[in-house]
C-alpha cells in the first residue's frame, strides 16, 4: 500500500471518526455528545464515498446526521437533560467494561488485519474495479424497486407503526396526568380505563419494595 492522497484521507477520516466517538463517550454534556456523534456520522459518510457508495453517503448525512440527530437534540433540550450527575452505583463496572472492550477490539483487529485469521477479508488483494456508476441513485433505485420491492413496501408499514407508537407513547391527556399524580399516593382508583390499559395496574407497580 503506497502513500496516496486516498490513503492519507482514509487515515484522517478514521482518526476523526474514532476521536469523535471517544469524545462522545467522555463528554458529560449530552448536547456535546450528540454533536460529536454528528462529526462521527459525517466522517463515516465520507468513507462511504471512498467505497463507491455515493447514494448511501448522502442518505447517511440526510437521515442520520440530519433527521435522527436533530430528534436527539430536540428531546435532550425538551427534557432539560443535558447535564446528569455522573453517579456510580457499580464501581467495578467501569474496569470490567474496559477489559471486555479491549478483548473485543483485539478480536476484531485480529480478524480484520491478520491474513491468516479465519474470515479475513483478504487485505493483500485489492478489491476489484467496479463500474463508474456503482452505488449511484440509478443502480440503487433499479435494484431497490425490483429485487427488494417487498421489503421496501414493508418498510412503509414499519415507519407507520413507529409513528403511531411514538404518538401514543408520548400522549399525555388530563386523565393520565391526574392518574400519575394519584399513583404516588398508592390509592389509584380504577376510573381511568384508558390509562389502566396503557400502564400496568397499580398493584404491579407499587407491590415491589426495594
Amino acid at each position: 500500500m503506497s502513500i496516496t492522497p486516498t490513503v492519507i484521507l482514509f487515515f484522517i477520516l478514521a482518526v476523526v471518526a474514532v476521536a469523535a466517538a471517544i469524545a462522545m463517550l467522555r463528554s458529560p454534556n449530552a448536547v456535546h455528545a450528540a454533536l460529536f456523534l454528528v462529526i462521527n456520522f459525517t466522517a463515516v459518510a465520507i468513507l462511504y464515498l471512498l467505497l463507491n457508495a455515493p447514494f448511501i453517503a448522502m442518505a447517511q448525512i440526510t437521515v442520520y446526521a440530519g433527521a435522527i440527530m436533530v430528534l436527539f437534540l430536540f428531546v435532550i433540550m425538551m427534557l432539560g437533560a443535558e447535564r446528569l450527575p455522573l453517579t456510580e452505583r457499580l464501581p467495578w463496572q467501569r474496569p470490567v467494561a474496559l477489559i471486555l472492550s479491549l478483548i473485543l477490539v483485539a478480536a476484531f483487529l485480529f480478524v480484520a488485519l491478520v491474513p491468516a485469521a479465519p474470515g479475513n477479508p483478504g487485505q493483500a488483494a485489492a478489491p476489484p474495479p467496479v463500474p463508474r456508476d456503482f452505488g449511484g441513485p440509478l443502480q440503487i433505485g433499479s435494484v431497490l424497486f425490483s429485487r427488494y420491492l417487498f421489503p421496501f413496501e414493508l418498510t412503509s408499514v414499519l415507519l407507520l407503526v413507529a409513528m403511531i407508537g411514538a404518538v401514543v407513547l408520548t400522549r399525555e391527556d388530563r386523565r393520565q396526568a391526574t392518574d400519575g399524580r394519584r399513583q404516588t399516593t398508592e390509592d389509584r382508583p380504577q376510573t381511568a380505563e384508558l390509562a389502566s390499559v396503557l400502564r400496568p395496574p397499580s398493584s404491579v407497580v407499587t407491590k415491589e419494595q426495594p
Binding site: T6, L100, L113, P121
Partner: protein, 104 residues
C-alpha cells in the same frame, strides 16, 4: 484518486473499533439518551462493514441493506425517544440505574 488503494481489511478494522466504542458507551454510561446514541454508533459501525463488503464483492446488495438499516434506525429512534420521554415524565429521571421498576 484510486479507491482501491486501501485494503478492505482496514475498513473492517475501523468498523470493529467503532463498534467496540459503542459497546463501551452502553456499558459505562448511565444517561439513557447517551446509551441510545452509543447504540446508534454500533449500527453505524455495522453499516460501514456492510458498505466495505459490498465494495469488495462488487455487488450493490450490501448498500441496499444499509439503506434498510438506516430506515429501521429512524423508526427505532422515534419509538425509543418516545419511551425515554414517557419514562422521564413519570420518574423525573433518565438515569438507567434509577429505572429499576421492572427488575425481576
Amino acid at each position: 484518486m484510486n479507491p482501491t488503494d486501501i485494503p478492505i481489511g482496514y475498513y473492517i478494522a475501523l468498523s470493529g473499533l467503532l463498534f467496540t466504542l459503542g459497546v463501551l458507551g452502553v456499558l459505562i454510561r448511565r444517561n439513557a439518551i447517551i446509551i441510545f446514541m452509543a447504540v446508534e454508533l454500533m449500527l453505524n459501525a455495522a453499516n460501514l462493514a456492510f458498505i466495505a463488503f459490498a465494495r469488495e464483492q462488487g455487488a450493490v446488495d450490501g448498500q441496499l441493506f444499509v439503506f434498510f438499516v438506516i430506515t429501521v434506525a429512524a423508526a427505532e429512534v422515534a419509538v425509543g425517544l418516545a419511551l425515554i420521554v414517557a419514562i422521564f415524565r413519570t420518574r423525573r429521571s433518565i438515569d438507567v440505574d434509577e429505572i429499576h421498576m421492572m427488575r425481576g
